[in-house]
């Protein structure tokens, strides 16, 4: 399913794949209810994991797991809750381990991409309701922010800590090495989620109320072009029907027909 993909049924109407179609003329303006429910369910599912991931991240950053990761055992062997010296940089490193961005966001980003494809395939029709699009776009925006926060912010904090404490601080690899290791996942998550949010929030093309040129032609009796009759029809039209056709303004996006082309669709004069 790609945009602009043509069907074999399009052979009689080559412009059908490119034009916006008014929903009222095709499905009565409403997507069937089970399909609407499924689309809403997908949009809601895309929000579940970013929501749970945000809660988990806030729990870690506010010191919820300090005792488990930075606590010390006292003389009795019990875990001491004294973690007043824990820095934000240390908590962020725990966050990268406990709440990895790929586990939180790969599934939702895949669903956002699916909804984006469905929205593009609608070609102006309400395949994805506006509320569901906003919900999926919100999930995508949270995904981008979460990825940047978990993937990039700790590197900045780590670099700042290295500058304050000296080059020997931490003892781990260089920050750029850490970024290269996870660059593929981070770039994919940010790029795919950002692209999905932009496409989903883009306003839909307004449906026009005027008939399309091919429908206006189809509403009048059409005589199939007959090669044998071509010399007769091309001889007459210059004086009979030419003023009517030139008087009606045409939409600017439609390619203009020549007088010779119009003659093939004109009712033959007795």
């Amino acid at each position: 399913m790609t945009v602009g993909e043509t069907d074999t049924t399009d052979e009689t109407d080559p412009t059908a794949a490119d034009r916006p179609v008014d929903a009222d003329r095709t499905t009565g303006g409403r997507v069937p209810r089970p399909l609407r429910v499924a689309v809403w369910a997908l949009a809601a599912a895309a929000c579940v994991l970013p929501l749970f991931g945000t809660v988990a991240a806030l729990h870690v950053l506010t010191g919820g797991v300090d005792a488990q990761y930075f606590g010390s055992y006292d003389a009795e062997g019990s875990l001491s809750p004294d973690t007043s010296s824990v820095t934000l940089d240390q908590r962020w490193r725990v966050l990268d381990y406990l709440v990895p961005p790929d586990r939180v966001l790969l599934g939702p980003v895949a669903v956002v991409l699916l909804l984006t494809g469905l929205h593009l395939a609608g070609r102006g029709r309400p395949a994805v309701p506006t509320g569901a699009r906003c919900l999926a776009a919100a999930a995508a925006v949270v995904a981008v922010l979460f990825t940047l926060a978990v993937g990039v912010v700790p590197l900045v904090l780590r670099e700042r800590a290295r500058g304050e404490e000296g080059p020997g601080f931490g003892g781990g690899p260089e920050p750029w090495a850490l970024l290269v290791g996870s660059a593929g996942v981070l770039v994919f998550l940010v790029g795919a989620a950002g692209l999905g949010a932009v496409v989903l929030l883009r306003p839909r093309r307004a449906a026009t109320t005027e008939p399309w040129p091919e429908q206006a032609v189809a509403s009048s009796p059409v005589v199939a072009p007959d090669p044998t009759a071509a010399p007769e029809t091309t001889a007459a039209p210059e004086t009979t029907a030419a003023p009517e056709t030139t008087a009606a303004p045409e939409p600017p996006a439609v390619p203009r027909l020549t007088e010779e082309d119009r003659a093939w669709y004109r009712r033959p004069t007795p």
Partner: protein, 188 residues
């Protein structure tokens, strides 16, 4: 109308369904094998021989093989993508006639597995004072949140895939097909 499948390329779709089912099938197989093997559970948990094993011990042993939510998430996302292809008939000549029934069953199994594992983990967390840590195992709140989130995500996505397949199979008019949502309606 969804075009008939090509006799060769239809096997690509069947292979894709097998690949989509592989994560959940592997997880179910591993869980079933570990659950009934006492020696494996004791070796993974360090449980003293002679002490009767609890359901919590067996469940924790299965969790040592990996994060529980990933198989359901992968299968659910693959299911909904394949359901989209099967219902819309795009790419053409790809989805065989039985694909919707197979995908419906696979989505239901995936959703049941996701909900079951999520409920089991939540039950252990709630029924044991101060979490399962008091029972000898540690599951921090962030880990539990991600397990629950992945399970709910997979269940909802698999349910949407099943709804798509079921709706399109029972619908014979033009209105109910996914084509009618994404494509202009035309006379067949």
């Amino acid at each position: 109308m969804v075009p008939p499948p090509h006799p060769v390329t239809a096997w690509w779709f069947r292979a894709a369904v097998l690949v989509a089912a592989a994560p959940v099938l592997a997880a179910v197989t591993v869980t079933a094998v570990v659950f009934q093997d006492d020696d494996t559970v004791r070796s993974l948990n360090g449980t003293v021989p002679g002490v009767p094993l609890r359901l919590l011990d067996r469940w924790h042993a299965t969790q040592t093989f990996g994060q529980s939510g990933w198989p359901a998430v992968l299968t659910a996302v693959a299911c909904v993508a394949l359901a989209f292809a099967a219902v819309s008939g795009r790419p053409r000549h790809l989805a065989p006639p039985e694909s919707r029934s197979v995908l419906t069953v696979l989505a239901l199994v995936c959703g049941a597995w996701a909900l079951g594992t999520t409920a089991l983990t939540a039950w252990f967390q709630v029924t044991h004072p101060r979490g399962v840590a008091s029972a000898g195992y540690e599951l921090l709140l962030p880990q539990w949140a991600l397990d629950t989130g992945q399970g709910l995500f997979a269940a909802v996505v698999a349910g949407a895939a099943a709804l798509w397949c079921r709706r399109s199979r029972s619908e014979s008019s033009d209105e109910g097909r996914l084509e009618a949502v994404g494509e202009p309606a035309r006379a067949e």
